[in-house]
Amino acid sequence: MIEFKEVHKWFGELHVLKGITLKVAPAEVLVVCGPSGSGKSTLIRCINRLEPIQKGELIVDGMRVHESKTHMTKLRAEIGFVFQQFNLYPHMTALQNVTLAPIKVRRIARKQAEEEGRRVLAKVGLGDKLHQYPAQLSGGQQQRVAIARGLCMKPKIMLFDEPTSALDPEMINEVLEVMRNLAREGMTMIVVTHEMGFAREVSHRVAFMDFGELIEIAPPEEFFARPRSERTRLFLSKILTH
């Protein structure tokens, strides 16, 4: 579904991804963790070419993302992206937020798109907030609208960039719950997060990144019980103790 082959990425002089090789299978849930600045966001932002890569190959859903001639609009419609800061459109209601792309990109009739939008918003527990503006919703509710916005495109892949990091603690669970359900339904997901409980319980594999490299990748039982690299161990001891 997603394949990185020796992918390199620079921001000017800064070498941010240093030869990433990684394969994600359909219906797999991959959690990515690592210290701040290690390149986690950049890694998933390359998948829909929010950031272009400079070297290596990146193949997503059969499309060669590393080739500049590859037309991204169609592929982007197949990939939902959830940001740390939600990034909802503040001048639109929840329902308008989730129906915009289906209507404009997928060219679905408004009535049908709204029906689907209602269904998906109800599924993430916001059936009574259809006509609220983002500013009228709590952080957890906004993030659930953002997830619904991705889901309304009926994507093949969902990418999450620290979806709960901007939330107050009491709202984290309502968002994780939505993501858990999504994983159970067989969505292909890459989740950048430090929620190790979620990783343990839901993910198929956990990856650890540091300084632009994939240090370690393993199923959660193994990753947490017997981390192979010293750096992984150090990182885990830091985040699991606080």
Partner: protein
């Protein structure tokens, strides 16, 4: 002193003032419309991806903002004919107001567009919306909300600047005051009447600003 203030003469000159009031309105209105078009275009060129266009728009904006309107007006009025380009006085005046105000509006619109958090653009890109769709559905609806008050402020400046058109003998409000002064030597009555008409335009535009701000308030939250 006040007993020398001559209201009768003002009444006598009222038809002239009304004609000139109308002239100020339509000259400014045409300049405003032109400035909005030029400003939007210049802003689009400035922030677009074509280096040459962006540079040209930048040069235009900078050269207008760094020189006095009066110099620009005289250049169009005296300079262009000497280069073989002839226009009526009204066209010259509207051109000067349009190009002058357009440069300021380009910057106002640019600030409005750039005030939209980049994350929203990334969200729109991620869901497959193309450039025009993002402009149409995400950027412009919000940018207009942010931009309307400063744009109306610029419109007020433009109306006041239109007084300079009296210097190329266009019969507008300031010119009316001059005419009355030179014919009857009553500068107090003449220019005060001009000022009152400007005040009327100012308050109408200000009321419009308040009204638009109230309607758009939810976007600021």
């Amino acid at each position: 002193m006040l007993e020398t203030f001559n209201f009768r003469v003002i009444l006598e000159y009222m038809p002239l003032f009304l004609r000139c009031f109308w002239a100020t309105l339509w000259l400014s209105g045409a300049g405003l419309l032109g400035a909005l078009v030029v400003g939007t275009l210049a802003c689009g060129m400035r922030i677009g991806r074509f280096t040459l266009l962006s540079w040209a728009a930048g040069a235009y904006i900078e050269s207008i903002r760094s020189t006095p309107l009066l110099v620009q007006l005289f250049f169009f009025y005296f300079g262009l004919p000497s280069l073989g380009i002839r226009m009526s006085e009204a066209a010259t005046g509207i051109l000067a107001l349009t190009l002058n105000s357009g440069a300021y509006m380009a910057e106002i619109i640019r600030a409005g567009i750039q005030s939209i958090p980049h994350g929203q653009v990334e969200a729109a890109v991620s869901s497959g919306l193309n450039y025009l769709q993002r402009m149409r559905h995400i950027i412009l609806p919000q940018a207009i909300g942010v931009t309307l008050p400063p744009l109306l402020g610029q419109a007020i400046v433009l109306v006041k600047d239109s007084a300079l058109l009296s210097l190329i003998s266009l019969p507008e409000l300031t010119r009316a005051g001059q005419i009355m002064t030179s014919e009857r030597f009553m500068p107090a009555e003449g220019f005060l009447t001009s000022a009152l008409f400007y005040l009327l335009i100012y308050y109408s535009l200000k009321a419009l600003t308040h009204w638009s701000q109230k309607r758009l308030i939810y976007m600021q939250t």
